[in-house]
C-alpha cells in the first residue's frame, strides 16, 4: 500500500475531459446494471479509468465510489493508470516457458526499461506477461496489440521494438 500512496503524490493526474464521460453516461443512464458498460466505454475512450472519471461516474450514476473501485480492481480488463499505445504481451504459459519465454521477457524488460504491467513514460509501450494466449504451436509467442509474433527469439524482440518505435504515437 505504501508505494501506492507514494505514487499518488508523485504523479499528478493529467486534466481529463469529463464531457467524454458525460456522453457515455447519458447513453446508459436509464439502463439498470449500467456500471459495467459505462466503465468499459470509459476505458475504451480514455485508455484507462482516471480517478476523476471514476468519481464523476460515481456521482452521476449514484453508485458508491468504493463500489466502482471494487469493480475496477476485480476485473483485469480495467486499468487505473494510463496505458501505452502498443500493448506487448508475452506468453509465459507452459509451452512458451519450455521454449524460452523467460529470456524473451527479460529481453523486453532490458529493451524497454520497464517491468511487468508497466508503461514507458512516453506512453508508447505497456508490457504484460500473460498466462496463455492459446497458440502453443507458435511458442514462444508474443503479441503487440492484435498482431501475433510466433517462434520468438531475442533478435526478433529487437526487431519488434525497433518497428514499433518508428510508428506514430497519434
Amino acid at each position: 500500500m505504501s508505494d501506492v500512496v507514494a505514487q499518488k503524490t508523485e504523479e499528478q493526474e493529467p486534466e481529463v475531459d469529463l464531457s467524454i464521460a458525460d456522453a457515455i453516461i447519458d447513453k446508459y443512464i436509464d439502463i439498470p446494471g449500467n456500471l459495467m458498460p459505462v466503465l468499459q466505454a470509459a476505458q475504451d475512450e480514455y485508455g484507462y479509468i482516471p480517478r476523476t472519471v471514476a468519481d464523476h461516474i460515481a456521482e452521476r450514476l449514484n453508485v458508491y465510489p468504493s463500489q466502482i473501485y471494487g469493480v475496477l480492481t476485480f476485473y483485469a480488463q480495467f486499468h487505473l493508470k494510463p496505458r501505452g499505445k502498443f500493448i506487448i504481451r508475452v506468453c509465459v504459459g507452459t509451452a512458451c516457458h519450455v521454449q524460452g519465454a523467460p529470456r524473451i521477457v527479460e529481453t523486453f524488460f532490458d529493451k524497454l526499461g520497464i517491468g511487468h504491467a508497466e508503461t514507458t513514460p512516453d506512453l508508447r509501450f505497456t508490457f504484460e506477461k500473460v498466462a496463455c494466449l492459446g497458440a502453443c504451436g507458435m511458442a514462444p509467442l508474443a503479441m503487440v496489440n492484435d498482431s501475433t509474433y510466433g517462434a520468438m527469439t531475442v533478435q526478433k524482440v529487437d526487431d519488434i521494438v525497433a518497428d514499433y518505435q518508428q510508428r506514430p504515437l497519434k
Binding site: 480517478r51 471514476a54 456521482e59 458508491y64 465510489p65 468504493s66 466502482i68 480492481t73
Partner: protein, 824 residues
Amino acid sequence: MVNLTIDDKQVTAPKTATIYEAAKMNGVNIPILCHDKKLKPFGACRMCLVEVEQMKGRQIPACTTPVTEGMIIRTSTPDIVKARKMVLELLLLNHPLDCPVCDKAGDCDLQNLTYEYKVDTNRFVDEKFHHEIDYNNPLIERDMNRCVLCGKCARICDEIVSFGALTFIDRGIETKIGCEFEDGLNCEFCGSCISVCPVGSLLARPFKFKARFWSLTKQKSVCGYCGTGCNLTLGVKDNKVLTTLYDENQGFHKGQLCVRGRFGYQFINSDKRLTSPLVRRNGRLIEASWEEALEVVAARLKGGNSVAALGSSRLTNEELTLFKKLMLENVGSSNFDHSAGYAHSALTSGFARSFGTTASPASILDIQKTDLLFVIKTDSYETHPVIGFEINMAVKNRGIKLNIISDKRGKLSKLPGANTFVHKPGSEVSVLNAIAKSILDDKLAVGSVDSVQGYAELAEALKAYTPEAVSALCGLTAEDIKKIAREYASADKALILFPIGQGYVSHNQEMSCAVANLSILTGKLGKEGCGVLCMSEKNNSQGAVDMGFFPRADGMNAQQILDACKNGSVKTLFVAGENPIVSYPDKSKVTTALEAVEFLIVSELFMTETAAMADVVLPACSFAEKDGTFTSTDRRVQYVSPSIRKNSNCKTDFEIFSALISKLGGQTPVSSSLLFSEISSNTDGYAGMTHVSLRKESAFASVNVKPKLIVPKASAAVSSEPGKLAMVTGSALYHSGTLSQFGEGPMHVCPEAYVEMSRKDAANLKIHDKDIVTVSSPTGSLKLNVKVTARIPEGLVFVPYHFSAAPVNAIWDGAPVTMVSLTK
C-alpha cells in the same frame, strides 16, 4: 411454520427462517463469523456448515439455506467439527496471533471459536499479510492484516448506513477491504463497521490500549444526545466511561449508533467538568461550598415574578418536573421555558392545536411499516442519524417509497428511488399548503373530512395556495406539487417525518399544523405506518414538553424572558444546562440580556460561555451519573440508572432543585422514583409507568389524537437580493446541540463550523473548497471554512449552529432565512 429435526430434536420454525435462525430459535447455537441478523445472508465464512440428511449428507451453510418441511439437520457431527476446524486453521494461517496487544481480545469471535474448537496447531504454513494499518482518521483504525473477509463492515455500511465507504478490493488471495483508490476512511464515522467486525480489524481508536475487554463493567444506558432515544452500553472501568460497546439486542435500533452516540461519550469524564460551586466575588468566580452557594441562590430566588428560568431538554423528566415545581410553587413565577422558546412550538403550539396533544401520533417503529415516507428536509438524517438508518433500511430493503421536500439535497436524496423536491428556503409552509390544496382539488381527501372541525375555514384559506400560485414562489413546478399530493394521498399508508430544533426555526407551529392537515385530510392518522413524526432535537425534548416545562398563558417564553432581562423586569435568571449565548439566535441580544440581568445562576457540566457570565455556577451531573427517565421523540419513556458514581462535589440537578425547594421552605420529594409516580399519574399517557417497570422495559406513552384542521400561516417569501446568498442554519451530522463540543469523537471529525455552498456560487465568487471566507449579515460577520458540495442548490448556503468558536448566532437573528454575502 415448518417441522424439522435439529440434532435429533423435533422443532418448528417459520417458513422464512434459515437453518441458522431455526436452530437459534430452538436453542441450538451454530457458530458464525460472517452472519449478522441485521444484514442479508452472505455465506462467506463457512463456519456455519451443517449436514442435512436430505442433501445426502453434504455440508451446507446454515446461514443462507432456508428451512423446508421435514429437514433433518445435524449441526455438530465429527465431520462438521473437522470442517470447521479446518476453516479456522485456514483463517489463522494469515491472521496474526497478536491477541495480547489487540483490543478485540476477549470479545473476538475468531479467538472464541479458535478456543471452542481447540485449534492449537496448524497443518499449513503461509506468510502473514503485510498491509499497512490505516491510521488516517482519529476514530476508526483499520488493520487489514487481521481481516477475515467476512464483509460485514462493507455490508453494514451499505445496507444500513447507506454510505458505502468500504468494499472488497482486488481479487483472490489479494482481496482486502478498503476505500476507493486506497484512500483512508473518510465517512460518517458512525462506527457500525467496528460494531460488527468479528476480529480486531476495525477498532475504536479512542479506546486503544485503554482497558481489556473483560475488565470493563457493562452499564446499560440511554444516549444523551438526540431525541431518538438509542440505548447504549457503556464500558466502564475505575469509574470512568472508556467506550461504548455493541449489543445487537439492545433497543429498537438493534445496537446501531451514530458517531455521537458511539464516539461522543468523552464529555462524561472530561477533565474540563466543573467540580465545585463557584460564586462571583469582586467580579471573579471563586470556589465556594455548596451550602454557601445554595444559600446565595435561595436568597435570590425569593423574587416571585422577577425570577425566570431556562431549562435544558437534556434534564430528566424528574428534574424538569422538580424545576417547574420550584418555579411555580416555591419561587412563585411562571416564567420558565426551554429550547429558545421556539424549538418546541411545533409540538406545544402546533400539534396542540391540530391534534389536541403535544406529542407525535406516530413512532419510529412505523417507518418500517409504512408504504410511503414523506420527509421534510433532508436534514432529518443529520439531526437523527439512527432514524436515518431506519429510513435507509425501509427504502433499501422494503422498497418503501421516499419523497422529500427540502431546501437542499442530502444523504437521503441518494437512496434508490428517492425523489427530492428542492424548494426555495423558507417556503415550506406554502408548499405544504399547496399540497393540501391539491389534495382537496383533486378529490383525494377522505370522504368524511368535511365533518372535521375547521374544514370550512381551511378550504377557504387554501384558495390562495393553488399549486400554480405557490409554484412561482417556491421554485417547484405545479406538477411536482400535485404529484407529491397524489402519491401521498393514494398510498395505503404514509408517514410524514420532520425534524425540529433550535437550528430549524421554520419548523414551527405553522409548519406542524400544515403537516398535520395533510395527514388529517387523507386519513393517514391513527393507523399503523401512518401519522406524523415530529423529530425532537434533544434526548429529552419530548419529555420537557410532556412535563409542561414551557410557559403557560401567564408566563414568559424564552425570548420574552431575555427581553425582560434586558429591560430589568426579570432580575434573577436560573439557567440549568442551556447555553443560550451559543445556541439561541442573535448572540448580541442574548449577551446583552445576560449582562443586564442582575443575578444569573447557571447549573452546568462545563464552564460554558453562559456559565462564565454567571454570578453562581453549580456543578451538575451528566446522564451517566444520575437516575431518572428520558422520553424519546416518539414518546418511549426510558429509565436510566447511574453508570458511574458522580464526583462527590457535584450534585445532580434533582439534588440542586430539592435543596433549593427545602431552603425556600417547600416540601422536597423523597426520591426520584416517588416523584415519577406522581408524574405518571399527572401526565397524559404515562399512567401505570413506574421506575420499577421501566427498569425492566421501556414503555410508550400513549397519544390520544383529536384531529382538527387549522389554517397555517405561511411566512412571507424571502426576497432575494442581488449578490447575496440565502443562509439557512441547522444541525451537522456529527453534532447535537452544543454538548457534543465536549465529546472528543465528534470534535475530531467535525471540529469547527463551516459554510457549505453550491459549486455554481463558488465558481461565480471564485471561492474554492477549504478557503476561509467572511460571511456577513445585517447582524454581524463570521469567518468560516468553505465546503463546496453538490447537494446545495444555487443561491443557498448552510451553516451549522453548534460551535462556540464560530457561533452562527453572531450572523443569525432567528430568521428562517438570512441574506448574507461571502467575501474572501
